[in-house]
C-alpha cells in the first residue's frame, strides 16, 4: 500500500518537472533567439544558421536604431502617454471609487450599474472611432492639436480597475474615518490621509494595470494620432516591421547586418526596460490577479 503511494507521487513529480522545464524553455527561447539574432552577422541571420548563440557578432543593428531620431521620439511619446495617462486614469478612478464606496451615496446602485454595464457591452470599434473623431474635432476647436492628449484623456479607462479600488476602499474600517471626521477632517483629507494610505497595495496594483495598458496601447494610438512624430513606441515598432518585412522595400538592402536584426534589436529594446523594473513590480502584478478573481 505504502509503495503504491510513493510510485504515483514519484511519477507525477517526474512528469511535472519535465513538462515544466520544457514549457519554461519554450517561454524563454524566443527572447534568447531575438537577442542572438539582433547581434549576429548578416549571412548568419539570413541563412538561418543562428539557432541559440550569436554568430559573427556585430552591434551595427543597435547602432542604426539608436541613431534613429524617430526611435527616441517614439520612446519619449510612450513615456508621455504612460505617465500622463496613468495619472489621469488614477485621478478619475480614485475619486470615483471613493465616492462609490460610500454607503451614504444616493443612487449608488445606479452608478455601479453604469460602470459594470460597460464591462458587459461595448459599442464596438466603428462607433468608438466616430466618437473619437468627434472628440478630436472638439479638442482641435479648443486649441489642443497634439493628439497625444486625446489618447490620454479619452482612452484607457477600465471599469474593472475602478471596481478593484472601490472594493479596497470598502474594506477600510469606518471607525477610522469617523475618528478623522471627529477631528475635523474634510472629505478630501479623509481620502488622502486615511483611505489612500490604507489601500496602498491595491492602488499600486491598479496603477500598474493602467500603466501597462498605456505602455502597450497600439490600435487607437495608430488610428487617432495622425502626426508620425507623435507615434508611441508600439506604433513605431509595427510600422518598422511592416517596412522591413516587405521584400520590395528591402530589395536594395546592402548593409553588413540583416534587416531582420534591426527588428530583433527593436524588440529587445522594448522589452529590456520592462525586465529591469520587473523585480520591483512583480508582487503587485501577482497580487492583482488574485484580487481580480474575487469581486463584490
Amino acid at each position: 500500500m505504502k509503495r503504491k503511494l510513493e510510485t504515483s507521487e514519484l511519477i507525477f513529480k517526474i512528469i511535472s518537472y519535465t513538462l515544466l522545464t520544457v514549457f519554461a524553455l519554450c517561454c524563454l527561447y524566443p527572447f534568447v533567439y531575438a537577442v542572438s539574432a539582433s547581434i549576429s552577422g548578416r549571412s548568419a541571420v539570413e541563412y538561418g544558421s543562428v539557432v541559440l548563440f550569436p554568430k559573427d557578432v556585430q552591434f551595427d543593428a543597435f547602432a542604426r536604431m539608436f541613431g534613429d531620431n524617430m526611435f527616441w521620439n517614439a520612446y519619449s511619446n510612450t513615456l508621455f502617454l504612460t505617465l500622463y495617462g496613468t495619472l489621469w486614469s488614477m485621478l478619475t478612478a480614485i475619486l470615483g471609487a471613493y465616492a462609490l464606496s460610500k454607503r451614504r451615496l444616493l443612487f449608488r446602485k445606479f452608478f455601479n450599474f453604469f460602470l459594470v454595464f460597460t464591462m458587459w457591452f461595448s459599442a464596438g470599434i466603428v462607433p468608438q472611432y466616430l466618437n473619437y473623431l468627434a472628440t478630436k474635432k472638439v479638442f482641435t476647436a479648443a486649441g489642443i492639436t497634439d493628439d497625444k492628449w486625446l489618447v490620454v484623456i479619452a482612452m484607457g479607462m477600465a471599469a474593472m480597475n475602478i471596481i478593484l479600488l472601490r472594493n479596497a476602499f470598502e474594506g477600510v474600517p469606518s471607525e477610522i474615518e469617523e475618528a478623522a471626521v471627529v477631528d475635523g477632517a474634510t472629505e478630501f483629507q479623509v481620502l488622502s490621509k486615511v483611505y489612500i494610505p490604507m489601500s496602498k497595495s491595491t492602488i499600486a496594483t491598479v496603477a500598474l494595470f493602467f500603466a501597462i495598458s498605456r505602455w502597450n496601447g497600439y490600435f487607437w494610438a495608430r488610428q487617432m494620432i495622425s502626426n508620425s512624430n507623435e507615434h508611441p513606441l508600439q506604433v513605431f515598432i509595427r510600422l518598422r516591421l511592416e517596412q522591413y518585412t516587405d521584400p520590395e522595400a528591402m530589395a536594395g538592402w546592402n548593409e553588413a547586418f540583416a534587416a531582420d536584426s534591426v527588428i530583433y534589436a527593436l524588440i529587445v529594446c522594448s522589452i529590456v526596460p520592462i525586465l529591469i523594473i520587473y523585480p520591483f513590480i512583480q508582487k503587485y502584478f501577482a497580487k492583482g490577479v488574485n484580487v481580480g478573481g474575487v469581486k463584490e
Binding site: 539557432v51 460597460t118 470599434i125 468608438q128 506604433v235 509595427r238 478573481g293 474575487v294
Partner: protein, 354 residues
C-alpha cells in the same frame, strides 16, 4: 397581537384620539417631497458627488456616446450626417448582413464563424493549461526553483501585443531567394510537421495554420500568468487535507480528485465565467496584427471585418456606420453569454461574479 395601524398611528391622550406618529410624519414628508430631500442630501455631501463627476463624464463621453452612435445601424447610414438627423430605415443593415446573399453577407458569416471557432478553441486549450501548470508548480517543493520556473513562464506576458506578434511574425516568416525562413518554420519543417515548401511560403500566409499560431502564441503568452490565480488557490489548501487523504490510502490521482479539485472549484468557476463572458470579445488587436489578405478565410473576426469594411482602416471601401450592426450583434450575444454564465454559476454553486 399588535394592530397594524399602530405602526403609523399613536394614541394621543390629550385629545383622546389616534393621530399620525412622528416617524410616519417624516416618512410621509420624504415621500411627498422626495426630490427636495434628495437635493438636501446632495448639498450636504456635495464633495462626494463632485468627486464622482470626472469618472461619470469619462464613461458618458467615451463609453456611452458610442452606444448612441449605434443608432446609425437602424438608419440610412451616412457618416457625414449626424445620427440624430439620419432617416430611420429599420433593420435593413441587419437584414443585409444576415440574409443579404451577397459578398458582404458571406463575409459576415465567415467572420462570425471564425469568432466562435477562435474563442471556442481558446476556451478548450487556453483555459485548462494554466490549471495544469498550477498543479505542476505545486509539485516543486523548493521555493527558489519554483520562483525561477514562475518568472520564466510569466515572462511573455510582459510583452505588448505588438511586440509579441512581431516576434511571432519573425519566427515563422517566409523565406525568399536570398533569405532563409524563420527559425520556428525551420524547426517545424526539420521535424516533419510541415513540408519545406509550405514552411518557406510563410506559415502566416497559410490559412490552415492561422488558428494554431493564434492559440499557441496565446498559450505561450499568458498560460504562466493565468496560472497564478489557480496556484494561489492550491497553496491555500491545508496540508492536513493531504495527510488525511493519504491515511485513507488515496494515491496521487485520488488526492487530485478528492482534495485539490474540490478546493479550487470555486476559483475555476469564477475564472470560467470571466472567460465565457469575454468569449466573443476576442482580442481584435492580435488578429489585426497577425492576419493578412491570404488568411481572411480563417482569421477574419467580426471586429476586424467591421474595421475593414467601414473604411476606418483606409482600405477605400466604405459601408458607413451601418456596418457597426455586425459588431453590435456580436456584442449583444457576448453580453447574453456573460449574464447567462453568471446566472448558471449562481444557481449551481453560489459563486457569482456580479
Amino acid at each position: 397581537m399588535k394592530d397594524r395601524a399602530a405602526d403609523f398611528l399613536e394614541f394621543d391622550h390629550a385629545s383622546g384620539a389616534y393621530r399620525i406618529s412622528p416617524e410616519q410624519a417624516v416618512r410621509d414628508d420624504v415621500e411627498k417631497h422626495y426630490w427636495r430631500h434628495v437635493g438636501a442630501a446632495i448639498i450636504k455631501d456635495w464633495r462626494l458627488y463632485v468627486m464622482l463627476v470626472p469618472m461619470l463624464l469619462v464613461f458618458l463621453f467615451w463609453r456611452y456616446f458610442p452606444m448612441y452612435e449605434l443608432l446609425g445601424c437602424f438608419k440610412v447610414s451616412d457618416s457625414v450626417v449626424p445620427v440624430s438627423e439620419q432617416l430611420f430605415s429599420g433593420f435593413s443593415y441587419f437584414r443585409r448582413l444576415l440574409v443579404g446573399g451577397d459578398q458582404l453577407s458571406t463575409d459576415f458569416w465567415r467572420a462570425m464563424r471564425n469568432t466562435f471557432i477562435l474563442s471556442f478553441y481558446g476556451l478548450c486549450f487556453g483555459f485548462p493549461i494554466p490549471i495544469i501548470l498550477a498543479l505542476f508548480f505545486n509539485e516543486i517543493r523548493s521555493n527558489a526553483a519554483r520562483s525561477v520556473y514562475q518568472v520564466l513562464t510569466y515572462l511573455p506576458k510582459f510583452m505588448s501585443t505588438v511586440v509579441m506578434t512581431s516576434l511571432v511574425t519573425m519566427l515563422v516568416k517566409q523565406g525568399s531567394l536570398t533569405t532563409g525562413m524563420g527559425i520556428v518554420s525551420q524547426a517545424l519543417s526539420g521535424l516533419g510537421f510541415v513540408t519545406p515548401e509550405v514552411a518557406n511560403a510563410g506559415l502566416l500566409n497559410n490559412p490552415a495554420f492561422f488558428r494554431s499560431i493564434y492559440q499557441i502564441s496565446g498559450i505561450w503568452e499568458s498560460a504562466g500568468y493565468d496560472s497564478i490565480v489557480f496556484f494561489a488557490a492550491i497553496i491555500a489548501i491545508s496540508p492536513t487535507s493531504y495527510e488525511a487523504a493519504q491515511i485513507d490510502g488515496a494515491d496521487k490521482m485520488a488526492q487530485m480528485r478528492y482534495v485539490v479539485l474540490p478546493s479550487i472549484l470555486s476559483t475555476i468557476v469564477i475564472m470560467l465565467i470571466t472567460r465565457i463572458g469575454s468569449l466573443l470579445n476576442i482580442g481584435y488587436e492580435k488578429v489585426l496584427l497577425l492576419y493578412n489578405t491570404n488568411t481572411y478565410v480563417t482569421a477574419d473576426v467580426v471586429s476586424t471585418f467591421a474595421n475593414r469594411i467601414s473604411g476606418m482602416a483606409g482600405t477605400g471601401t466604405s459601408a458607413g456606420t451601418g456596418i457597426a450592426a455586425a459588431e453590435m450583434m456580436n456584442n449583444v450575444i457576448g453580453m447574453l453569454l456573460v449574464i447567462g454564465a453568471n446566472t448558471i454559476a449562481r444557481k449551481a454553486s453560489n459563486t457569482s461574479l456580479y
